[in-house]
Amino acid sequence: MTFAASTMETTASSPLLSVTDLRVAFRQGQDWVPAVAGVSFEVPKGGSFALVGESGSGKSVTALSVMRLLPQNGQLQGGRVSLNGTDVFSLAERDMSSIRGGKIGIVFQDPMTSLNPVLTIGRQIGETLVLHRGLKGAALRRRAMELLDQVGLPDPARHLDEYPHQLSGGMRQRAMIALALAGEPELLIADEPTTALDMTLQAQILELLRRLRKETGMALWLITHDFGTVAEVADRIAVMRAGVLVETSGPEFFDGPQHPYSRELLNAIPRLEACLQRESPVEAESAPAQAPPLLDVRDFRVYYPIRKGIFQRTVDQVRAVDGVSFQLERGETLALVGESGCGKTTLGKALLNLVPATSGEVRLDGVKITGQMGGARHEAQAGLQIVFQDPYSSMNPRMVVGNILEEGLRAQRLRTTPAERREKVEALLLAVGLPVSARGRYPHEFSGGQRQRLCIARALAVEPRLVICDEPTSALDVSVQAQVIRLLRELQDRHGLSYLFITHDLAVVSELADRVAVMHSGRIVETGKTRQVLFNPENDYTRRLLAALPKLHKSARTHF
């Protein structure tokens, strides 16, 4: 206790990093648009600080300006950053490069693009070691190996001579962290270090960061949009919005944030308990047993051939979907959960014939749709639609919204006159909560959440019975995510839709799904009512997934 108090005192007297009234603006055409508008905070020695905010709030820009790595069109407009008492902004560029990597290490979101693909891991770590630690030869190699071992990469000697593409996503992020640690920095900036990773990997990386902080005594500055990761790691939390910090507080933050915006954000986080409060409509009504299920999938398989040699002979197959069977009732939401690479997206696309299926049978409303070709197939699966993950690439940037929404109507000859089509498009826009005037605008004029609404409207235009939602919320900010989920639920009630909801996020599942199917390496390992799968899982893999979920999603700790 006394020890804690004394460290508190020293950190208070001289923080490692102190940022005072930082202002950054970006040039847009003729104007300067402020991205960071007067941000002040401190990171104590060996402390951990989290900067939380939604996309576009300026959190990454803050980190980049501290490193003096702002892009061309960005400009520092004021403020002071001092590291150990030295004013960072007054340093010469060559002194700055000894600070980057030497005093401050940084880990970016995407391990794929932040490692050089043509150099081995060992070379890249070695580079930093030579530069900041002056190591050579065998000592260099030994230290690099130690670092890889420290970040928990198994068999470091082998990975040292491997290229980034030979490592998996989680291993790459570990290598990236080893690279950041090579200069033995006093401060590690982790900019969304787990966002691109699967749930189980996320938990491992967070655990690793926490352990490293304890072992090396460096300070950690975490930048994230995810309160889940924050709750696990940070001592101090700052919430950022539109370039300003709306609230800075300690771990007591999660017991009751002061600022309404923080409260709103925290409330928007999907929680596992959500499913406990909902009555499943299927449970309530219990549909007559004799009617065939809306979607009946039996022993469905999708194999990708691996071709080799000059004649492209098929030497092996990737079993992306390997014998999957499930049923989906009318008005029901079935969530298909699994980590990346488990085949859930392939399954969704193969159901729609976007990817050729290898074998198996799919019946929609009792009508067999597999085995039909061309126009017949289109007709048979007219009641099946899809909403994609990425709201940025899912609409043609050269078409106005009205035309995008009309496309299905034209293709299926549902409304033949322009007036009818226009009326339908306007009705759709209103249904997804957008103004009628959106009709004449281009997709790029809308935000991510609005675009996702438009994609939902496009799918609804042809009046489908079943909508396959392929991670529709994972590219969105938390608050927007909550809105989209609400919209999906509303539309389900109003139109009697069924959803096949493909996701990796168990918490979102609990908000929306009636039943859950857990998928692992191409097979469904567990199916059941949401409540049962989330709170009483039978399968080991499901249990592992649940264990990896950040505590915030699990506990009902927040009472306002």
Binding site: E407, A411, V462
Partner: protein, 464 residues
């Protein structure tokens, strides 16, 4: 009644197509946006003005009127009965101003000495006076310089007057609905307008000054001298503009359908379609381009020899050969763009909006036309703009190795080819080469600058 040769018709059709495209672009917001950034660039606007001047000359040189209706032109250079173009009509004077052989720019005497019987009966080894250049001067030694200065001054004056008229007209047209034309001119002068009008007006001023001086001088002199058989080099260079522009544009038009159709089909359908198309263009790419062109031109020549009746006149023969060259160049240069489009289509077909369209049951033709094609448009535009100048240069190279346009067609390539021998003469005859170089340079440089601006505006990697 105008007489039109095949290339004229194609060129005019192409200009119409271009106009239609511009009209369409103006109505589409997503197309207008990048173009706005193009026309805001000063260098692009100046380049555009110069390119338009070239285009105008080429256009004037593509509208032919029968010679009989035109009493002015009864020259020795064109066979009787051949139709002449509007440009020939306008340049009648220098077109007909033939000398015996070489003469330097603005000279009053020939380039080489000759035995001349003088008025008093004695023979002298001296430079003979030209038949046209400086004919009006009684005593060239004293009057030549002052006459040149007088004419240049006159030309500058006329240029300024012409520019003032043009500017006034522009100001009136541009402000027709909104404001006072003088206000517009004032803000243009201060550089306050949204578009770089000051740069445009200055470019126009420069062009009109140049044109004024050229017109004033060419009334009595050969501004760029004369060639081997005494033809005016300025006239040759001006006539070459049509050839250059035509090869640059028609060839592009010939490559587009092939590159677009094959590139999109290969990228979208993959499988054996892709294999066949890839095989086709890798094979074509592995044959040296010049060899292919030479072979095709020989085949074409032997075809013309066998069907002599159809190519009775010199003009039709030259025209056919020009058209053939454009097509052959087109056939050999579509592969680059095709490869680019295939790669982009491969990427686009996996995009979610294309997949969404497939799920909605949109037909494949519609997907290609509505979703793939418009999203390839920027690539086509960039590559067309970049290719134009290289094609103009390619013509010069091909004519140099004698597989280019017909030797009777005026082209920069032919002029440079001719200059091969002229450069070896003593004293050296440099003006043909210089003139071809200047005219070509003045076309290719703006074309490249404009292409750069287009690429900056349309290339998604350079956006923002």
């Amino acid at each position: 009644m105008p007489v039109l040769l095949p290339t004229d018709i194609l060129f005019l059709l192409m200009l119409l197509g271009l106009a239609a495209l511009v009209a369409y672009t103006l109505r589409q917001e997503h197309l207008r946006r990048p173009w706005r950034s193009v026309i805001r660039s000063r260098s692009a606007m100046i380049s555009l003005v110069i390119l338009l001047v070239y285009l105008l000359i080429a256009l004037l040189d593509s509208i032919r009127i029968p010679v009989s209706s035109n009493a002015h032109v009864n020259s020795t250079s064109a066979p009787i009965g051949e139709p002449v173009t509007l440009l020939d009509f306008g340049l009648g004077r220098i077109r007909d101003a033939q000398e015996k052989t070489y003469s330097a720019p603005l000279a009053v005497v020939a380039h080489a000495r000759e035995m001349i019987r003088q008025a008093d009966g004695r023979e002298a080894w001296t430079y003979p006076r030209l038949q046209f250049g400086g004919r009006h001067l009684a005593n060239p030694e004293q009057e030549h310089a002052s006459d040149l200065i007088r004419r240049i001054a006159l030309g500058l004056g006329a240029g300024i007057a012409g520019w003032a008229l043009l500017t006034g007209f522009l100001a009136l047209v541009l402000t027709r609905r909104r404001s006072d034309p003088m206000d517009f001119l004032r803000s243009a002068w201060r550089g306050e307008t949204d578009l770089p009008w000051r740069a445009v007006l200055l470019a126009l001023l420069l062009i009109s000054l140049l044109a004024g001086v050229l017109v004033a001088l060419c009334q009595a002199y050969h501004v760029f001298g004369t060639g081997k058989v005494g033809e005016d080099v300025l006239y040759q260079s001006l006539k070459s503009i049509r050839t250059g522009v035509l090869i640059g544009t028609l060839t592009t038009v010939a490559t587009l359908p092939l590159a677009l159709v094959l590139g999109i089909l290969a990228g979208y359908y993959r499988g054996w379609v892709d294999d066949v198309i890839q095989y086709l263009y890798t094979t074509l790419n592995s044959v040296p381009g010049v060899l292919l062109i030479a072979a095709a031109m020989l085949v074409m020549q032997s075809y013309m020899a066998r069907h002599e009746a159809e190519f009775a006149s010199l003009a039709t023969r030259a025209d056919f050969r020009l058209l053939a060259l454009c097509l052959i160049l087109g056939m050999t240069s579509w592969t680059g763009l095709c490869r680019l489009l295939r790669a982009e289509t491969l990427k686009l077909r996996e995009l979610e909006y294309v997949q969404a369209a497939r799920v909605l049951g949109v037909s494949q033709g519609m997907i290609l036309f509505r979703h793939i094609l418009p999203n390839l448009f920027h690539l086509v535009l960039i590559s067309v703009a970049l290719d134009f100048s290289s094609l103009v240069l390619a013509e010069a190279v091909l004519s140099y190795v004698n597989i280019g346009v017909d030797p009777t067609t005026e082209s920069w390539g032919n002029m440079i080819n001719g200059a091969r021998l002229e450069m070896a003469r003593e004293p050296v005859v440099w003006w043909s080469l210089a003139s071809a170089f200047i005219f070509m340079f003045a076309l290719v440089l703006p074309a490249n600058l404009f292409a750069d601006a287009v690429r900056d505006a349309f290339d998604p990697r350079r956006a923002e």
